[in-house]
C-alpha cells in the first residue's frame, strides 16, 4: 500500500445536539445521542494525534459545538498544538461570557451560519424562534472582540432570491468572508431535495448576484460561492479526493473521509476509541476504499480529468445509483446522468422533513 500524504484539515463534530432543525443538515439521519459522545480526554488525545499527523486546521463543528461545555478547553489545547482553530456555529449560544471563554482560549476564526436574511424564512428553516436576533447579536459581539468572522448562508429555492441581501448583510456586519453555498444533497438534504432544489433561472440569478458583489466589495469581502452540482455536467472534486486532505470525526469517534460516508455499505467504520488516527488514515480499509484512481470504473479510469475531480463524490454516486463505486452521475459522461438532470428540474414547494433525533 502506498504512503498517503497526511490530512490538512480535521472536522471535529463534537456533538449532534443542536437547537436548530435545518432540513438540509449535513449530519447523518441516525444522529449520535449525548450518551454516545466521546469524553473530553478522548478529544484531547485526538487533537494530539491530529497535530503530529500533520493536520493544520481544526474545525470544531456539530450539531452545535457550543453545546459542549468543554469547547474552550479543546480550543485551548488545539491552540497550544499550533493548530488553526475554527468554530463552525449557529451562534445562538454566543453571549459575552461564552465568547470571552473561546477568545481567551485562542480561537482563530468563527464561521457563523445564517439561514436567511428574512426572519420568517430563517425561522422556517431553523425552527427556532428568536434565532435571527441572537445570530445578529453574536456577529456584533464577534466583531467587537476582533475575532475574524465568516458568515455562512446555505441557499435553496426558498431563500436564493435574497442572495444580494445576504451579501449586503455580510458586508454590513463587517465579516471578512462570506460563503454562499447552494445546498448539498446528502442525509437530510437528500430527504428534502426536491423542496430545496433551485431552478436553473434561480441559480443563474444567484451567480450574477455574486459576480456583482465581488465587483462592488472587492477585497473588503471575500466571497466563497458553492454551486449546486445537480445543475452541472462535471462533478466536484469532493473533499479534494477521498482520503487525501480531509478527515472527519463523529461525536462517537468514528473516523470518516467525509461527513456523509456513513452511508457507504459493507465497510467497517474505524474509530479513534480503538485505533490511532494515523493508523486509520494510512491503513484502514475505509480510507483506502476510494483513495487515488485505482478503484475507478470507466469512463473515469481513462478520463483526462480523473486527477482533477477524483471521480466526483462517492456518497452521491451511492445515493443516486445504488453503487458507491459508480461514476458520479453529475458527470455528463456517466450513463446515469439523466438521474441528475431530472432531479435538477424536479424542484417544488412543500413541507420539509426536519432534522430530529429519531424517536425510539
Amino acid at each position: 500500500m502506498s504512503f498517503a500524504p497526511p490530512p490538512m484539515s480535521l472536522l471535529a463534530e463534537l456533538t449532534h445536539r443542536c437547537p436548530l432543525a435545518c432540513p438540509y443538515c449535513s449530519n447523518p439521519l441516525a444522529l449520535d445521542r449525548r450518551a454516545a459522545e466521546m469524553e473530553t480526554a478522548d478529544w484531547l488525545r485526538v487533537l494530539d494525534e491530529a497535530a503530529s499527523l500533520g493536520v493544520l486546521q481544526v474545525h470544531f463543528s456539530g450539531g452545535e459545538p457550543m453545546a459542549r461545555h468543554d469547547l474552550p478547553e479543546l480550543v485551548r489545547h488545539a491552540s497550544k498544538l499550533n493548530l488553526y482553530t475554527n468554530l463552525i456555529t449557529s451562534g445562538v449560544l454566543i453571549n459575552d461570557v461564552t465568547l470571552e471563554a473561546l477568545d481567551t482560549a485562542g480561537l482563530d476564526h468563527i464561521q457563523l451560519s445564517f439561514q436567511d436574511v428574512d426572519e420568517a424564512g430563517a425561522e422556517r428553516i431553523g425552527g427556532l424562534r428568536g434565532a435571527q436576533e441572537k445570530k445578529l447579536n453574536a456577529a456584533r459581539l464577534i466583531k467587537a472582540r476582533g475575532i475574524p468572522l465568516t458568515l455562512n448562508f446555505v441557499v435553496h429555492r426558498e431563500n436564493v432570491a435574497r442572495v444580494p441581501e445576504m451579501l449586503d448583510l455580510a458586508h454590513e456586519l463587517g465579516a471578512g468572508r462570506v460563503e454562499i453555498a447552494h445546498t448539498q444533497y446528502y442525509g437530510w438534504g437528500l430527504k428534502n431535495r426536491d423542496l430545496l432544489m433551485p431552478s436553473a433561472a434561480q441559480l443563474e440569478a444567484s451567480t450574477e448576484a455574486v459576480v456583482k458583489a465581488r465587483a462592488r466589495f472587492g477585497n473588503s469581502l471575500a466571497i466563497d460561492y458553492v454551486t449546486p452540482d445537480y445543475h452541472a455536467d462535471q462533478p466536484k472534486p469532493c473533499m479534494g479526493g477521498w482520503g487525501q486532505r480531509f478527515v472527519n470525526i463523529t461525536p462517537s469517534g468514528k473516523v470518516l473521509p467525509c461527513h456523509a460516508a456513513e452511508t457507504i455499505p459493507n465497510v467497517v467504520f474505524p474509530s479513534v476509541t480503538t485505533e490511532s488516527l494515523g493508523a486509520i488514515w494510512q491503513d484502514s480499509p475505509l480510507f483506502n476504499l476510494f483513495r487515488g484512481t485505482d478503484w475507478m470504473p470507466e469512463p473515469c479510469r481513462s478520463c483526462s480529468l480523473k486527477e482533477v475531480d477524483w471521480g466526483g463524490c462517492r456518497c452521491q454516486a451511492l445515493a443516486l445509483t445504488g453503487d458507491a463505486s459508480a461514476t458520479d452521475p453529475v458527470c455528463a459522461r456517466s450513463n446515469q446522468h439523466a438521474l441528475v438532470m431530472e432531479a435538477a428540474t424536479a424542484g417544488h414547494d412543500g413541507e420539509f422533513l426536519y432534522r430530529r433525533f429519531r424517536a425510539i
Binding site: P6, G176, R177
Partner: protein, 91 residues
C-alpha cells in the same frame, strides 16, 4: 502602490506564518485555508514581527543574502503589497 519603508507590518488577526514540520514547508494560515510560502516569501515573512520598520527588514535581508538593496526592496514590495491587499498583513 508601494509600502512606505517606515511602515511597521504585522499579520492581521486570523493570519499567521507557521512552519509545518511534517511537510517541512512554511505556511500562511488563514481563515479556512493555508497557503504555502515559497522559500523567498518565507524568508521575508519570518522578519514580519509587528516591531521593526520595513527599512530594517530590507537591510537585514540584503545583508543576509549579500544582494543589492534595490533588488531585495523590489521583491519585498511586490510580496508585501499583495499580502496587504489580501488583508493578510496590515501596515
Amino acid at each position: 502602490m508601494s509600502v512606505s519603508e517606515d511602515s511597521i507590518l504585522k499579520f492581521t488577526r486570523g493570519h499567521r506564518l507557521q512552519h509545518d514540520r511534517v511537510r517541512d514547508v512554511w505556511l500562511i494560515q488563514a481563515p479556512e485555508k493555508a497557503f504555502i510560502a515559497d522559500p523567498i516569501a518565507a524568508a521575508i515573512l519570518q522578519l514580519v514581527d509587528g516591531a521593526r520598520p520595513l527599512s530594517v527588514l530590507i537591510d537585514t535581508l540584503a545583508e543576509t543574502y549579500q544582494a543589492p538593496r534595490e533588488t531585495i526592496a523590489g521583491d519585498v514590495q511586490t510580496l508585501l503589497t499583495s499580502l496587504i491587499e489580501q488583508k493578510v498583513l496590515s501596515a
